[in-house]
């Protein structure tokens, strides 16, 4: 048998071994390796990491880092605020939030919290800081301008205007 044939059969045998090892070792290794690459899901979907939490009465408002569109994404930059837990929210919420942490209120968000978690949400955002855009009766218009209930939180994404 020539060397090439031996190498071929060796590679074929290794391939069969790889197949057998896949569910026990290989798949987990490759998955962890991929997870370890440091990639992250586009923040346009995830909303960006939380940077601060502002406590209110029975709930808290988490403020995320502003998200800016990549490349040529057809979206505006936005900042996401989470009201959680949604189960602890009153029937009507009207809160001022200091987003940038300078001690001055930046926006006032007003929305009703329906009992049915699947009921549509609408929000009015009054802007006290020209950096943030006002919203009127906004629903789920686009990734950068919406109000949505995700698990036990109500998220609001406020587009950034000119800084």
């Amino acid at each position: 048998m020539s060397l090439r044939s031996k190498l071929g059969y060796t590679a074929a045998t290794l391939t069969v071994l790889v197949a057998l090892l896949t569910p026990f070792v290989l798949m987990g290794l490759l998955s962890k390796g991929f997870a370890g690459l440091g990639l992250h899901v586009d923040e346009m979907y995830s909303g960006g990491p939380k940077i601060r939490t502002v406590p209110y009465a029975a709930y808290a408002v988490a403020i995320h880092r502003p998200v800016h569109p990549h490349m040529l994404q057809n979206e505006m930059p936005f900042v996401q605020l989470d009201w959680s837990p949604a189960s602890a929210l009153p029937a009507h919420v009207s809160d001022t939030v200091d987003i940038d942490g300078d001690g001055q209120p930046d926006i006032r968000a007003s929305f009703d919290v329906p009992v049915d978690p699947k009921a549509p949400l609408r929000v009015d955002v009054d802007s006290h800081n020209p950096r943030y855009e006002a919203m009127h009766n906004a629903g789920k218009e686009r990734y950068s301008r919406l109000i949505a209930r995700v698990d036990n939180s109500i998220l609001i994404r406020i587009p950034l205007a000119h800084p």
């Binding site: 800016h68 569109p69 490349m71 040529l72 057809n74 979206e75 505006m76 930059p77 020209p130 789920k140 686009r142 990734y143 950034l160 205007a161 000119h162 800084p163």
Partner: protein, 272 residues
């Protein structure tokens, strides 16, 4: 109010908010956005005494915007390069024509925004000129050129080419420059966010010559990222590669057409 301040206000009105906000924070901080904060005295920082800093900023902005530029131009450039003859030189010629036309588009835009900045303060109606309309029109035109390119690339002109240069823009002989120029010009006018951010910056400059220089250096910075496209010249050309490129061009053109129509109708270009 000094003319440069007026131009700045005008540029703030016309520039895409998305584009401005998409710019890096460092660049954004330098842009005139908060009108009420800008004072006439601050225009001194735009004096011609600071060209080395200013123009290194242009180069840096171009280099930083490179990925966005190749992302924007890639869908147009890659398939059109693949319909060309294999080899380093044909690709270098095509790329040179494409980039030159792109530079022309940049410079035309530079002049336009610089002048519009002055005009806009006197003609409030110009504030209303929507970016979406311009982008929509450019996208539709780009789609049409791509479709025509894909169609005409099937005509591999040999010794005699009786068709017009426009008809044969995708042909594999001497008429390919027209295609490169058309596509380069249109991608140069595509108003992508880094491009508009550079435009906002250029509009703050005291003179149109400085604006042109700024854009030229910005262009040089972005063009560095196009050098790897020359590697496509090493790919063998046969019926398979050219057919793939033509089909891809059609798909991309259809997408740009849909995008352009959606922008003209001021509709969201996606289902959500």
């Amino acid at each position: 109010m000094c003319p440069s301040y007026n131009r700045t206000i005008g540029m703030c009105s016309i520039a895409s908010r998305t584009a401005v906000d998409a710019a890096e924070p460092a660049t954004r901080a330098q842009l005139c956005i908060k009108r009420h904060r800008l004072e006439p005295a601050k225009k001194a920082k735009f004096s011609p005494m600071a060209p080395p800093v200013l123009f290194s900023e242009a180069l840096a902005l171009g280099l930083a915007s490179g990925p966005a530029c190749i992302a924007a131009c890639g869908p147009v450039l890659v398939p059109s390069l693949l319909t060309q003859q294999a080899g380093f030189r044909p690709h270098a010629r095509y790329l040179a024509a494409f980039l030159s036309a792109r530079l022309l588009g940049y410079l035309l835009f530079a002049i336009a925004v610089w002048e519009l900045g002055a005009l806009a303060s006197m003609l409030p109606a110009l504030h209303m000129l929507p970016r979406a309309f311009l982008m929509g029109a450019v996208n539709i035109l780009l789609a049409c050129v791509l479709l025509w390119y894909a169609y005409s690339a099937r005509h591999a002109c040999g010794q005699s080419c009786s068709g017009s240069k426009l008809v044969n823009i995708g042909a594999t002989t001497s008429h390919r420059a027209a295609g490169a120029v058309a596509l380069g010009l249109l991608t140069g006018l595509s108003l992508c966010p880094p491009f508009v951010a550079a435009g906002v910056r250029a509009a703050q400059l005291p003179g149109v010559v400085q604006a042109l220089l700024f854009f030229t250096l910005f262009f040089v910075g972005t063009s560095v990222w196009f050098v790897p496209f020359l590697g496509l010249g090493c790919l063998v050309r046969n019926q398979a590669v050219v057919t793939v490129a033509r089909m891809a061009m059609v798909l991309i053109a259809l997408y740009y057409l849909a995008l352009g129509i959606a922008m003209l109708m001021e509709k969201k270009a996606y289902g959500y």
